[in-house]
C-alpha cells in the first residue's frame, strides 16, 4: 500500500513538474528565439511540406522535386512530413508546422475535405498555405494563399488536338474512339473526360463507349476486353492514365489485334511515367500527355512573390509536355496557344526525373 501511494504521489509530482517546466521553459526559449528570430528570418526560409505519402512513382517524383527546390543550397530549410495516406496525420503535421513558426506551409492534401479548422489556425498564425496537386474544399477560399497543380482539361484538349492533326496527316477517314475513364469523380478523370467529349463534338468523332477503368491495369484490361467484344471497329483508345493503357494493350493483343501506328488500334494515354514512355518509344502508346509532378519550381515562384510582397495568382498550373511516337505532328494549338510535341527517344526517357 505504501509503495502504491508513493508511486501515485510521484506520478502527480512528476506531471506537475512537467506542466510547470513546460510553461517556464516555453517562455525562456521563446525569448531566445525572439532575439535570434530577426536575422534567421532574412537568411533562411523555412518551408513545412505535408505530403500524401509515397504510393506511386508520380508521388515520389513530386516529393523529390520539392526536396530539390527547397534545398539548403537554395537558402531553404524544408521540413518534410509523409502522412502515410492519413488526413489526421496531415492535420497534426500542420499544427506542428504552425508551432515551429515555419514561414510557409505547403500541403498536398490526401482528401479534399476537412481542412477548415487547421487552415484557420494557420491563417490566425499568419502563415501562408500553398496547396499542391489536389484542390481543397473549404468554406472560405481565403484560407489558402494559392494552389499549384495540373490543368487536366487542358491535358485532354491537347491530346485531342494532337489526334485531330495526326488523323489529318495520316489520312484517317473516321475515328471510332472508346474512353477508358479514370476513377469517377477524381479531378483527373473529370478534366480529361471533358477534354475528350468537347473534342468529339468539335471534330465529329464517334465516341463508341465510356467506362471507368479506375486508373488500374487490371480494370483497364477488363474494360477493354468487353469493349472489344461489343465493337469491332474501334481504332482509337483514350486511356486516362498509363496503367489503364497497359491493361488495354494487353487486352487488344490478347484479342488478336495489333496496336501502334501501323496496327489496328491507336492507344492514347496520360501521365508519362517512365514505363508509359517506354511503351511510347515502341509505338504501343501513340501519344502520352504528361501530368507533371515537378511542382517545386512553381511553388518557389509563389513563395518568392509573397516574399517580395506581391500577390501571386490564386491558381497556378504547371507546364506539361506532350510525348508522341514519331514526329508526325510537331505542335498542337489549343485555345490559340501552341504546345510543342516531343518525339520520344531514349535520350528523352533517360533525361527525365521520374
Amino acid at each position: 500500500m505504501k509503495k502504491r501511494l508513493l508511486a501515485a504521489f510521484m506520478c502527480v509530482a512528476m506531471s506537475a513538474a512537467l506542466v510547470a517546466g513546460c510553461g517556464s521553459k516555453g517562455n525562456t526559449s521563446d525569448t531566445e528565439t525572439k532575439d535570434t528570430g530577426s536575422d534567421s528570418e532574412s537568411s533562411v526560409i523555412t518551408v513545412g511540406f505535408s505530403q500524401v505519402g509515397a504510393e506511386s512513382d508520380w508521388r515520389t517524383a513530386n516529393s523529390q522535386s520539392m526536396k530539390n527546390t527547397f534545398s539548403k543550397e537554395n537558402g531553404y530549410d524544408l521540413i518534410f512530413d509523409d502522412a502515410q495516406q492519413k488526413q489526421e496525420n496531415q492535420i497534426t503535421a500542420i499544427r506542428n508546422f504552425i508551432q515551429q513558426e515555419v514561414d510557409y506551409i505547403v500541403l498536398a492534401p490526401v482528401t479534399e475535405t476537412g481542412w477548415d479548422t487547421v487552415l484557420q489556425e494557420a491563417k490566425d498564425a499568419d502563415i501562408p498555405v500553398i496547396i499542391v496537386d489536389r484542390m481543397v474544399d473549404v468554406s472560405d477560399d481565403d484560407l489558402f494563399t494559392a494552389w499549384v497543380g495540373s490543368d487536366f482539361e487542358l491535358e485532354g484538349k491537347k491530346a485531342c488536338a494532337w489526334l485531330n492533326d495526326y488523323a489529318e496527316a495520316k489520312g484517317m477517314k473516321e475515328i471510332n474512339i472508346v474512353d477508358i475513364q479514370g476513377t469517377i469523380g477524381a479531378s483527373a478523370q473529370i478534366g480529361r473526360t471533358k477534354g475528350l467529349e468537347d473534342a468529339v463534338k468539335e471534330y465529329g468523332w464517334n465516341l463508341l463507349a465510356s467506362q471507368s477503368g479506375e486508373f488500374t491495369q487490371a480494370k483497364g484490361q477488363e474494360v477493354m476486353e468487353s469493349m472489344l467484344k461489343q465493337y469491332d471497329n474501334i481504332n482509337v483508345v483514350y486511356c486516362e492514365n498509363d496503367n489503364e493503357a497497359f491493361g488495354a494493350i494487353d487486352a487488344i493483343e490478347a484479342a488478336g489485334k495489333t496496336v501502334g501506328p501501323d496496327g489496328d488500334i491507336l492507344v492514347m494515354s496520360f501521365d508519362s511515367t517512365n514505363a508509359g514512355l517506354t511503351d511510347t518509344l515502341s509505338g504501343k502508346i501513340i501519344l502520352n500527355t504528361e501530368c507533371n509532378p515537378l511542382h517545386g519550381p512553381r511553388v518557389e515562384e509563389i513563395i518568392q512573390k509573397l516574399k517580395a510582397g506581391e500577390a501571386p495568382d490564386k491558381l497556378a498550373y504547371v507546364d506539361e509536355g506532350i510525348f508522341s511516337y514519331g514526329a508526325d505532328v510537331a505542335s498542337v494549338t489549343v485555345d490559340g496557344k501552341d504546345y510543342a510535341v516531343t518525339e520520344v527517344t531514349e535520350d528523352v526517357i533517360s533525361e527525365r526525373a521520374y
Binding site: 509503495k3 502504491r4 508511486a7 501515485a8 510521484m10 506520478c11 512528476m14 506531471s15 513538474a17 512537467l18 517546466g21 513546460c22 510553461g23 521553459k25 516555453g26 517562455n27 526559449s29 521563446d30 525569448t31 531566445e32 528565439t33 525572439k34 535570434t36 528570430g37 530577426s38 528570418e41 530549410d77 524544408l78 521540413i79 518534410f80 512530413d81 509523409d82 502522412a83 502515410q84 495516406q85 492519413k86 488526413q87 489526421e88 496525420n89 492535420i91 497534426t92 503535421a93 499544427r95 506542428n96 508546422f97 508551432q99 515551429q100 513558426e101 482528401t111 479534399e112 475535405t113 476537412g114 481542412w115 477548415d116 479548422t117 484557420q120 498564425a125 474544399d137 468554406s139 469523380g185
Partner: protein, 339 residues
C-alpha cells in the same frame, strides 16, 4: 490467496505505469531541449498532443476496459469511420441538425457495443472474431452510405469544431506577439471522459468486477460476480466510448469518408499496451493509457519537428516500444510466479 495475488499484480502494473510516465517525461524533455528553437517547448505544442489525439484518447479508454476483461475490440476504427460518415451524411444530405448528429454518433457506438457485447458475453464467441466482423461491417456500411468524401458545413457543428478555449498561458512568436495557448472543446470532453473512467474503474462495483473477471473469470464467478453481465456492460461502455471518440474525431477532421481512421484500432491497442494494460486481462489502468496516447503523439511530433526523418520512423519507434513493454510485462509476470 486471491487477494495476495491481486496485490502483487497491482504492484507490477504500477511499476509499468511508472516506467511509462517516466518515459513520456524523458521523451518530452529531450524534445524540449533538442528542438527548443523549433517551438517544441511551447505550451501549445504540448496541448496539440491532446487536440490531435482527443478522439483516440476516448477510444483507447474503451479499448483499455475491454482489454482488462481479457477481450479486445478491433472494430473501433471502422466505428469511427461510420460515425463520421453517418454524421456528415445526415447533416449535409438530409438536413439534420448537429444535436441529432451527436445522438446518432452515440447510438451507432451503443449499437455496436450491444451486439458485440452480447455475442462475446452470452454466446462465448472470441472477442477478436466478433469485433473483426464488426470491423468489416462498419467499414462496409460506411461505403454503403457514400463512397465519396463528404465535407461538413453545418454551422453549429463548425462552431463546435472551431471554438477555441484560450488558456492563461501562452508564448511569444518570432515577431514578438503574445499568442495565448488554446484548446478545443474536444480536449475538454476527452479529459472529462478520462476522469470519469478512472473513477469508474477504481471505485465502482462495475470497475472492480471488470478487473476480477479479467484476472480470473472462473474465480470471479465463484465469488458470485455476474461475469456475462459485466462483460456485456464492458463492451457496451466500450461501444459508447467509440461513438464519443468517433464524434470527437469527426470534430477534428470535419468530414466523412471511407478510408478515415484506418488502423485507429491498432493505435488504441498499442496505447493501452504501452500504458501497462495486459492483453491477457486483469491488469491495466486508464491513466496509463493516457500516457500511451501521449507517447504516440510525442513520437510523431518529434519526428515531424526533426523534419528530415521519414515519418515511417513513428511506426518503427512505436513497434520497438511495444516490444519493450511486452517484454517488461512478461518479466513482471514471471517474477510474480516465482514469488
Amino acid at each position: 490467496m486471491n487477494k495476495l495475488k491481486n496485490r502483487t499484480k497491482l504492484n507490477g502494473s504500477s511499476y509499468l505505469l511508472m516506467i511509462t510516465v517516466l518515459l513520456f517525461i524523458v521523451m518530452y524533455a529531450a524534445g524540449m531541449i533538442a528542438f527548443s528553437g523549433k517551438g517544441f517547448a511551447k505550451p501549445q505544442m504540448f496541448l496539440n498532443l491532446f487536440i490531435s489525439n482527443a478522439g483516440l484518447l476516448v477510444i483507447a479508454m474503451g479499448q483499455t476496459i475491454v482489454m482488462i476483461t481479457a477481450g479486445i475490440d478491433i472494430s473501433v476504427g471502422s466505428v469511427t469511420a461510420l460515425v463520421c460518415m453517418a454524421v456528415a451524411n445526415q447533416m449535409e444530405n438530409h438536413g439534420a441538425n448537429a444535436y441529432v448528429a451527436v445522438a446518432m454518433a452515440l447510438g451507432i457506438g451503443l449499437a455496436f457495443g450491444l451486439v458485440q457485447g452480447f455475442l462475446v458475453a452470452y454466446l462465448d464467441i472470441q472477442p477478436f472474431i466478433v469485433t473483426l466482423a464488426g470491423m468489416f461491417f462498419g467499414r462496409g456500411m460506411t461505403s454503403m452510405i457514400s463512397t465519396e468524401m463528404i465535407s461538413i458545413k453545418n454551422e453549429t457543428f463548425l462552431k463546435w469544431a472551431n471554438y477555441k478555449i484560450y488558456l492563461p498561458i501562452g508564448s511569444y512568436s518570432k515577431r514578438g506577439n503574445f499568442l495565448p495557448a488554446y484548446i478545443y472543446p474536444t480536449v475538454v470532453i476527452a479529459l472529462i471522459v478520462l476522469v470519469v473512467i478512472i473513477i469508474v474503474m477504481k471505485y465502482t462495483k462495475f470497475g472492480r468486477s471488470v478487473y476480477a473477471i479479467g484476472g480470473n473469470a472462473q474465480s470471479a464467478m465463484m465469488m458470485g460476480l455476474n461475469v456475462r453481465k459485466t462483460k456485456l456492460k464492458a463492451y457496451l461502455l466500450d461501444g459508447f466510448l467509440a461513438g464519443v471518440g468517433g464524434f470527437l474525431f469527426c470534430l477534428n477532421s470535419c468530414s466523412g469518408f471511407v478510408e478515415q481512421a484506418k488502423g485507429l484500432e491498432m493505435d488504441a491497442i498499442s496505447s493501452a499496451v504501452i500504458g501497462g494494460t495486459l492483453l491477457s486481462g486483469g491488469v491495466g489502468a486508464p491513466f496509463g493509457t493516457l500516457f500511451g496516447v501521449l507517447i504516440k503523439g510525442t513520437i510523431s511530433s518529434l519526428i515531424t519537428t526533426q523534419g528530415t526523418l521519414s515519418s515511417w520512423w513513428v511506426r518503427i519507434t512505436l513497434s520497438a516500444l511495444l516490444c519493450f513493454f511486452i517484454v517488461l510485462q512478461s518479466v513482471f509476470a514471471s517474477m510474480k510466479k516465482k514469488k
